[in-house]
């Protein structure tokens, strides 16, 4: 919140759109603004009424550089928008930088998302340091309902809950890398870096970066679903395959490869398989292991076919790791298998577990 917990004294808040961006059709702007206000009214008793003349609580406008409030914009990129906390006069007013390119999708800057963030300010919310929250000060694109638990807790402590109890699904808080109970969704190498997927985020470990970097998946790859089940790198083909449900995507570097998504059944898996838990390429053999429930399959990258004799039992072939795997990685003869908050270092040659660690030891915890 802003100092002194500034808020509107009434639950009926008015808004007025003073001008429109030429980047979008007028009705698209109207819809984005209404949708952005609805984000907040879904979780509070606040109701928003549109006015067409006079002074509204929230006056919405598009402007460039110095635009009348001695708080200038800076041309393309950089500052996108700003809004004033509740109050008389300029309080609640929301300004968008017309030098930006406004869109209704993931290109450039999505007007709905920026407006929803700014209206948070117009209602009394300051910035959050949770990178998964709408009130995080840095722009990132994401689909779906944009509020996190942090946003909801913040707005409801000002205005209370929605008495109608409308159903919504808040975004979960960003995972903490040193949470002792942390588990992973998927791990892969990517040209010498390690990418660890967890919920809507991924951590990037680079040999030249001392600390892991956490980013929203949608921020880097808007086309990939928010939940990644498994991933592996085929260094020979210089691709990373990402699995989510029955579909898979391919990356070349950080760029999505055309022609994807494809169905995982193209690999030769039976139609009964609806999700791959973990995948890992064993460089020494050229085989990719695909872990599904309590079994695993072997895919020959050279021939592009499934090896015969599979699926085999995980528990039988990898004694000591249990019967399920969340994520897997292979380094220098060692297979690192992750299940819940535990990492098993499995020696491929000795055929046994040689070390057990916390899963997040890979994140310097």
């Amino acid at each position: 919140h802003f100092p002194r917990d500034l808020k509107w004294k009434t639950t009926n808040v008015t808004f007025r759109i003073l001008n429109y961006t030429p980047d979008l059709k007028k009705k698209v702007v109207d819809r984005a603004v209404r949708k952005a206000l609805n984000v907040w009214s879904k979780v509070t008793p606040l109701r928003f009424t549109k006015t067409f003349d006079g002074t509204a609580d929230i006056m919405i406008s598009f402007g460039t550089k110095e635009h009348g409030d001695f708080n200038p914009f800076d041309g393309p990129e950089g500052l996108l928008a700003h809004a004033y906390p509740p109050g008389i006069g300029i309080g609640g007013d929301t300004h968008f930088d017309e030098d930006e390119t406004w869109t209704e999708d993931y290109h450039a800057f999505n007007l709905f998302l920026v407006a929803a963030h700014e209206f948070g300010h117009a209602l009394g919310m300051a910035h959050s340091s949770d990178p998964g929250s709408l009130m995080y000060p840095v722009y990132s694109y994401a689909k779906g309902f944009p509020l996190s638990e942090d946003d909801i807790e913040g707005i409801q402590s000002l205005y209370g809950e929605n008495p109608d109890h409308e159903k919504f699904k808040p975004k979960p808080i960003a995972p903490e890398k040193c949470d002792p109970e942390l588990s992973f969704d998927a791990i892969t190498e990517l040209r010498g870096e390690t990418i660890i997927f967890k919920d809507r985020f991924y951590w990037r470990l680079h040999p030249n970066m001392p600390e892991p970097e956490q980013t929203l998946i949608k921020n880097t790859w808007p086309e990939i679903p928010n939940k990644v089940d498994a991933a592996y790198e085929n260094p020979e083909r210089d691709v990373v395959i990402i699995f989510s449900g029955i579909k898979m995507w391919a990356l070349n570097g950080y760029t999505l490869v055309d022609g994807y998504p494809k169905y995982i059944h193209k690999l030769g898996l039976p139609k009964t398989v609806r999700k791959i838990d973990a995948a890992v390429n064993i460089r020494d053999t050229g085989k990719t292991l695909l872990f599904v429930d309590e079994e695993y399959w072997s895919f020959d990258e050279q021939t592009g076919t499934m090896d015969t004799g599979y699926p085999r039992s995980i528990e039988d072939d990898f004694p000591g790791i249990g019967d399920e795997v969340d994520a897997a990685a292979y380094h220098y003869g060692y297979l690192n298998l992750y299940h819940e908050h535990t990492q098993f270092e499995y020696s491929y040659s000795a055929r046994k577990v040689v070390r057990i660690m916390r899963a997040n030891s890979i994140l310097n915890c």
């Binding site: 802003f2 100092p3 708080n71 914009f73 990129e77 950089g78 500052l79 996108l80 928008a81 700003h82 809004a83 004033y84 906390p85 930088d97 800057f109 920026v114 963030h117 700014e118 300010h121 300051a126 910035h127 340091s129 990178p131 000060p137 840095v138 722009y139 970066m209 001392p210 600390e211 970097e213």
Partner: protein
């Protein structure tokens, strides 16, 4: 060693950023005070964004300063 243009650009960017979002006062400070204050403001910013708190303009800090963002200050009294 002379400061490279890139280093100068970074310093200018950081100064503007910290003045706008972290309430760093503009204008001249007495010798020594300016850089101390800047370090303190960089630390505030790194702490807010959960970066490694070094008080230095490392790559990740500069990268974050360059990202598109909201114009409302992250900390400090809103005027």
């Amino acid at each position: 060693k002379p400061i490279s243009t890139e280093e100068k650009d970074k310093a200018v960017l950081a100064k503007k950023y910290l003045q706008r979002f972290y309430g760093m006062p503009a204008g001249l400070q007495r010798p020594g005070k300016s850089s101390d204050l800047m370090q303190q403001k960089i630390r505030e910013m790194q702490e807010f964004f959960k970066l490694e708190v070094t008080g230095k303009l490392d790559d990740k800090t500069v990268e974050l300063m360059e990202m598109a963002r909201c114009g409302v200050p992250d900390v400090a009294e809103y005027n």
